[in-house]
């Protein structure tokens, strides 16, 4: 063990173990560095202003709105027809056009939510760079899913609100006219349609939303 000058020489076993330790460290780096680098570049890419994630999310937001509002429009048409409003009549057209107007508002709102969600995912991703492996890494990719889900939920809620609103307006006019047929002009004193208590502010995009589902997520 001891050599000249008091120096302690390593045994062959110790040398082998030291080499083994070096290999283990190299292996460790080779295992983790690519994961670290991939995640970093993925998060960087997601945060870029024109990243495909943003584009895709915005596209999905518009599609969600279109699908939900198409269903709502069908619902309004059916409801109005059941109440005796014929397609092509003024009342029918007013109600259906109202749905289209709400769709435009919902689509804009959805795209805004999508962008906010991507920003949130990007910020979370930067944080998750230091917490991946603890199960929190899933949040990075979940952020993308959440924004899509939020947009879809917003579109659905807006479409339902629009359906209820336009159906209510059309229905109220129908009720009033029907009543008028029986009671003459007294029918104008019929009570107004009940207020709609959900959906985004129908008066425009002023940021005031009373739809709880708009805040779900994250």
């Amino acid at each position: 063990m001891s050599g000249k000058g008091g120096q302690i020489k390593e045994t062959s076993a110790q040398v082998a173990l030291a080499q083994h330790a070096q290999l283990l460290m190299d292996d460790y780096k080779q295992r983790w560095l690519p994961v670290q680098q991939n995640l970093a570049s993925q998060i960087e890419a997601e945060g870029a202003p024109k990243s495909w994630q943003r584009t895709e999310a915005k596209g999905k937001a518009s599609t969600d709105s279109a699908i939900q509002f198409s269903q709502a429009e069908g619902g309004v048409e059916k409801a109005l027809a059941n109440r005796g409003a014929m397609p092509g009549s003024g009342r029918f057209n007013t109600a259906v056009t109202g749905v289209g107007s709400d769709q435009a508002k919902s689509s804009g709102l959805n795209q805004m939510i999508s962008d906010q969600r991507i920003n949130q995912a990007y910020t979370e991703g930067l944080g998750a760079l230091t917490s991946i492996g603890q199960g929190q890494s899933a949040q990075v990719t979940n952020g993308m899913r959440e924004q899509a889900r939020d947009s879809a939920m917003q579109a659905q809620a807006d479409a339902q609100a629009s359906l209820a609103n336009e159906e209510g307006v059309g229905g109220a006019v129908g009720t009033a006219l029907g009543y008028a047929g029986q009671q003459g002009l007294k029918a104008w004193n019929a009570p107004p349609a009940p207020p709609i208590g959900m959906g985004s502010n129908p008066n425009g995009m002023d940021g005031t939303m009373n739809n709880p589902s708009a805040y779900i997520g994250g």
Binding site: A13, L17, A18, A21, Q22, Y28, L39, T130, G133, Q134
Partner: protein
């Protein structure tokens, strides 16, 4: 990130210079920092960091087993050791080390460390990775 901890591997050890410059009362010498950088570049040591601080570790034989030895640790905020001790054990476990050790250059570590830590020699503390 690495080994399920909040640590990241520092790919370039130059960060150690910046960290060293920022210390008001460094307990390591500038020449030691250069030595650590050289070890990182030679891949015999690894520099890892997280929000709590930066650590330079190496894997070395101790007896017939491997030991994760902390060559340098700089805390960025209070409570870093308590928060990151388990993380270092995770990394040590992932590297195949049975023990984790460091050399204490400041006094008081004996009171701060848990009962799993034992003194080795005059300045070193060591604990088994898998001991709870």
């Amino acid at each position: 990130m690495i080994s399920g901890t909040s640590f990241l591997i520092e790919e370039t050890p130059e960060i150690l210079d910046a960290v060293y410059r920022s210390l008001r009362h460094p307990i390591a010498r500038a020449s030691e920092i250069q030595d650590l950088k050289a070890q990182c570049e030679a891949r015999t040591a690894m520099c890892i960091s997280c929000d709590d601080g930066i650590v330079v570790i190496t894997l070395r034989p101790f007896g017939e087993a491997l030991e994760l030895f902390v060559l340098l640790a700089v805390a960025f905020r209070h409570g870093a050791f308590q928060r990151q001790e388990a993380a270092l054990r995770n990394i040590a476990r992932d590297l195949g080390a049975q023990t984790i050790a460091f050399e204490a250059r400041r006094t008081g570590w004996g009171r701060r460390l848990g009962p799993q830590w034992r003194r080795r020699g005059s300045q070193e503390f060591v604990r088994y990775v898998n001991e709870r």
